[in-house]
Symmetry: C2
């Protein structure tokens, strides 16, 4: 009936409309029926592509992880700089805050979705490679990951005030550099 969609098109359209809706009403108030209405299909249409609401969110999260890794990989390969990966992490959280929020809202995702698991595994491997390199291994990576993730989460939640919120990349560059300083000359890090 609906001639606006070719085969496999509805899935994409639903994901994009979901992102738009999440941006407008927030993740708590997302309605499947509303997203269906935005796309112009019946309320039960998405059930065949995503099993349930969690399925749609899972698809958004998986897409988010893919783009996330793409951006981090680019930052890593272009600069080779540990700090810039952290900056890219935060930049992604800001520019794609909808995806970012869904990615870590695990209680509303299908935990064993293959696409999500693949994307998540890709992300995990990249973070290991980019962050865990160095003499003291996992602890340094853990600290860096916690640092940038915490910064991103606090920023998105509105817990960071004016000066920092105005130039988040600058701020994150400074605080990641704190960790990096430990590896500089004068300290056996």
């Amino acid at each position: 009936m609906n001639d606006r969609h070719r085969r496999g098109d509805l899935r994409r359209a639903m994901i994009e409309a979901a992102v738009a809706a999440l941006d407008e009403v927030g993740p708590a108030a997302l309605s499947l029926r509303d997203v269906s209405k935005r796309v112009g299909v019946s309320h039960a249409a998405p059930a065949h592509h995503f099993r349930d609401k969690a399925g749609l969110l899972t698809a958004v999260a998986a897409e988010g992880y893919e783009r996330f890794v793409d951006e981090l990989e680019r930052a890593w390969s272009e600069t080779g700089d540990f700090t810039e990966v952290g900056v890219a992490y935060v930049r992604f959280a800001i520019e794609h805050h909808v995806h970012f929020e869904v990615m870590f809202r695990i209680e509303r995702l299908h935990p064993d979705d293959p696409a999500l698991e693949r994307a998540r595994e890709r992300s995990r491997r990249l973070l290991c490679a980019a962050l865990h390199g160095g003499s003291d291994g996992t602890r340094r990576g853990l600290a860096a990951w916690s640092l940038v993730h915490g910064f991103a989460v606090l920023l998105l939640a509105g817990n960071l005030d004016g000066e920092v919120a105005a130039d988040p990349e600058g701020a994150v560059r400074e605080i990641v550099a704190r960790l990096e300083a430990l590896r500089g000359p004068g300290l056996a890090g």
Copy 2:
């Protein structure tokens, strides 16, 4: 009709039952009617104490902030150690993970609730006092806050694997010590 509750008792009972429910079914699946059923009152009873569902969650969050500040204050006054405040931060997130999650799920809270604002302000002041002290001021506090918060969030979301998850306090002590090391001898800062 219900003789199990005296005046002002239902409010407390609802909050406690809400925490129990949140612990069982998760924050996304919390149902007001279910909490009312647990307490043994009609489904519309809580409306007079908390305006709506967000009102109940706001009360849980406010209570969480109060306990949160209590624990951080205790850690700070007992040890005077910067690192131990961070450890207490993460310990609270683990032991009171329900409260912690609700506290930072801002889109489902009443942003201008006076009790919540008071508790949040108390928390903000304490974090400033405990973390922002030192020669380089806010940046150091920002780094520390991001670090412990990110660690806590990643841990609760299940993103941290075995070794770290087995002894989170030890892990957080190590990574907070990283920041602290910057203030040690040999580095001006």
